[in-house]
């Protein structure tokens, strides 16, 4: 679906923000693009969606070079959720969706009411102006806008931002459903939980370079210490011990009365990000 080779971009001559990105995204894959602010992830997404011109290297989308791909046909096949919920504040959710969907061929449009219902949008707000909505409600309308045209390729920038935990779970479920339908998802995020739970593969980007690219599981495994931390009771005292995983093959290798918990010391995706980039995600 997406093939990027040696992608470079400079806003000015002395300000190169992308230094030769290489990656591919397969059909129906959820690909996570993770990086701190200013790392170049939004720039890369803007190049792929045709908002920014003048890149170096090449990128293929739908098998077509993006220098020539950004036609109306191309835009009909993609859906974009921006980092912020950009909507007409004076129009209602329904009017916003009617307006934005009016640019797409009618045959590929979904039903507005149905999609809002799926996103658990409060029905009594459907005809009220967006200016009266909470951030979570605006994010739901924005997501509906991105999905309304049944896109083949979905660009999502911080999809769960501004949502409460149940809203975030719902969005992840919807993204998962989209993938099952065959939609490819390009997910740009700070949120390691989203990336870990959703993405087939993730790329860590920092200072315009991809420093690691693999499945979240493998990234974590490659850097695992293969240790577990065991909390237990022995002779009325609560104690804690860390042992190598192979030691467990013959059972718990120390005296104990009761095991309270066993935690693997596998690193989180965020630990891996910090390890690869030397930076946090803020």
């Amino acid at each position: 679906m997406i093939e990027v080779k040696n992608l470079t971009f400079s806003y000015r001559k002395d300000k190169q923000v992308l230094h030769g990105l290489n990656f591919t995204v397969g059909d129906g894959e959820i690909f996570g693009f993770l990086g701190p602010n200013g790392s170049g992830k939004s720039t890369a997404q803007k190049i792929l969606t045709g908002i920014l011109k003048g890149h170096g290297g090449y990128a293929l989308l739908f098998g077509q070079d993006i220098s020539t791909a950004h036609t109306q046909d191309f835009f009909s096949k993609i859906g974009v959720l921006f980092e912020f919920p950009y909507l007409y504040a004076n129009l209602s959710a329904v009017d916003n969706l009617k307006y934005f969907s009016s640019f797409y061929p009618a045959k590929q449009l979904r039903d507005i009411g149905e999609i809002l219902e799926k996103l658990e949008f409060k029905a009594d707000f459907m005809k009220k102006p967006v200016s009266s909505y909470s951030k979570g409600m605006r994010q739901r309308v924005s997501m509906a806008r991105a999905l309304i045209s049944s896109p083949e390729l979905l660009f999502l920038d911080e999809p769960t931002s501004g949502l409460d935990p149940s809203g975030a779970v719902l969005f992840r479920k919807i993204i998962e459903e989209e993938r099952k339908k065959g939609t490819t998802v390009f997910l740009t995020t700070h949120n390691m939980l989203d990336a870990d739970l959703l993405c087939d593969r993730v790329a860590f980007i920092t200072n315009g370079n991809i420093v690691a690219l693999d499945t979240p599981k493998r990234l974590k495994e490659q850097n695992s210490h293969y240790r577990v931390q065991i909390e237990y009771m022995y002779q009325g005292r609560r104690e804690e011990k860390t042992i190598e995983i192979p030691e467990l093959e013959k059972g718990i290798p120390f005296r104990h009365d009761e095991i309270i918990s066993i935690h693997s010391e596998e690193p989180t995706l965020e630990d891996m990000f910090i390890q690869y980039t030397g930076r946090g995600l803020s």
Binding site: I51, F75, V80, F84, Y86, Y88, N90, F103
Partner: protein, 331 residues
């Protein structure tokens, strides 16, 4: 494409309705009409200017009987100091020189042209056409033209800014970057809404203040000149809105335009203030085009139209570049 344009046009009309722009325009029309019909025409009692000629050698032939001859320069000065709206012609050197009363600030080119037209009735002077209007009609046309010019320069310019700044703040311009339509339509749609609004305004302004019968003959030319001015101003407003950070910066630019663009034009066209460079001022030509149209003298110079079209095309290109830049901005 037509379907996309209609969507954009409908949305822009909705934005203007919500922003009360049409209400402001309608209010302006009412205020201007009330001012011209019940204020300006009644209180600024317009009379024909008296024209005085000092021509001791009788060099001027075929002069109008409306010209009052004087016998000396002293008499000319005396009569002009009493009749401050009068126009003096000193032809003692053989060439007619226009003389206004020294302290008069109401002197304008139209009066000068009118005086010369009386002097040379057989020669071509646009003022001869002016002279066919009744004093009241002349006043109505002058004021309608000036208010129309102000309305389009000021209100139209601010109107597009108020609508576009809202869209900029809401970030929706960025959404349009990924929608399947020709991005130029976004600009064209907005410009068309303002053009249509300005044309309707100009039509009503002309009919209500000049009268249906007199307006009928001049309306097509007035609308052409209005269209030129409207396109220039809305594209300028569009460009400024995209390039400037907020409405405060825009207000400063608006002041600059008001001071450096509109003021010299009014001064040069309506008073005795002379500016050698005014011919290089594009708004001067547009204003004179509008004024001449109001007085039934359409601009026929193709260079004027060519320059107007070139200006509009250049402005459109600038706006398009600024629009693409805006779409690529961070949130």
């Amino acid at each position: 494409m037509w379907k996309n344009f209609c969507s954009l046009f409908r949305k822009d009309c909705q934005m203007m309705l919500d922003g009360k722009f049409f209400l402001v325009t309608f209010g302006s029309l009412m205020i201007y009409t009330l001012f011209i019909n019940f204020g300006y025409v009644n209180f600024m009692n317009a009379e024909l200017y008296n024209v005085y000629l000092f021509d001791p050698q009788g060099t001027q032939q075929g002069i109008s009987e409306l010209i009052a001859p004087v016998t000396s320069l002293e008499e000319l000065n005396t009569v002009l100091s009493e009749d401050v709206n009068g126009v003096g012609i000193d032809a003692s050197s053989g060439t007619p020189d226009i003389v206004f009363y020294f302290g008069s600030e109401k002197a304008d080119h139209h009066r000068a042209d009118y005086a010369l037209s009386l002097l040379r009735q057989d020669k071509q002077y646009t003022a001869r056409t002016v002279g066919t209007n009744t004093p009241e009609l002349k006043k109505r046309k002058e004021m309608s033209c000036e208010l129309l010019f102000i309305e389009i320069i000021a209100v139209g310019f601010l109107g597009i800014a108020s609508v576009l700044f809202k869209e900029k703040q809401m970030g929706v311009i960025r959404v349009h970057a990924v929608l399947p339509f020709n991005k130029s339509l976004f600009i064209v749609s907005k410009i068309m809404v303002f053009l249509l609004s300005d044309l309707i305004f100009a039509g009503w302004m002309t009919v209500l203040n000049i009268g249906f019968h007199d307006a009928a003959g001049i309306l097509p030319n007035v609308l052409v000149q209005t269209a030129i001015l409207s396109l220039i101003m809305s594209l300028t407003g569009f460009g400024c809105t995209l390039l400037l950070k907020d409405f405060r910066q825009f207000s400063l630019v608006y002041l600059v335009i008001a001071i450096f663009a509109a003021a010299p034009v009014f001064l040069s066209a309506n008073t005795s203030v002379k500016m050698a460079w005014i011919d290089w001022h594009p708004f001067y030509h547009v204003y004179m085009g509008l004024k001449n149209a109001c007085f039934g003298v359409p601009v026929t110079n193709p260079v004027y139209y060519l320059c107007s079209v070139c200006g509009i095309v250049i402005l459109f290109q600038i706006v398009q570049t600024a629009f693409h830049k805006e779409m690529g901005k961070e949130g």
